[in-house]
Symmetry: C2
Subunit: 89 residues, 2 copies
Amino acid sequence: MALDWLKFFRTEPKNTANLAKERLKVVVAHQREGRGRGPEYLPKLREEILNVVRKYVDVPETAVNIQVQNEDGLEVLEMNIALPEQRRS
Amino acid sequence: MALDWLKFFRTEPKNTANLAKERLKVVVAHQREGRGRGPEYLPKLREEILNVVRKYVDVPETAVNIQVQNEDGLEVLEMNIALPEQRRS
């Protein structure tokens, strides 16, 4: 069963990227039991994913919100992007 | 304020990838108000992100769980990976 992402989107804190009518969210999360660091490649993997997103999504920096969370063996990179509204012809 | 991802991890359905001691989760989610398709680049963006992950994470196919969810203007690609336990010397 898939997670209820729709509900999760709706309970997000309100900021510009979260209020946009069209949004993209990319999350890279690593979790391990107990303390300890993630794999050595994790920072590079996250950077490459951010680069892929930037390559496709042409928005100003103000439309991008990046958050990093580190606690209890969990490292989360979360990227929220407010997309420009598409023309529907 | 960051989302409570830790709580979110803990409420996940139980399957192999979710039970591993060390896990990586990558989510690409697109949401737009009302009906309608995501941007045309979305499938390629998702594919490239999956390729980046596969480049870094060397695990058997059975350690990877990919789910796609489409509903109410929300398209989610979710990749859960059970990582091998690292040696800590």
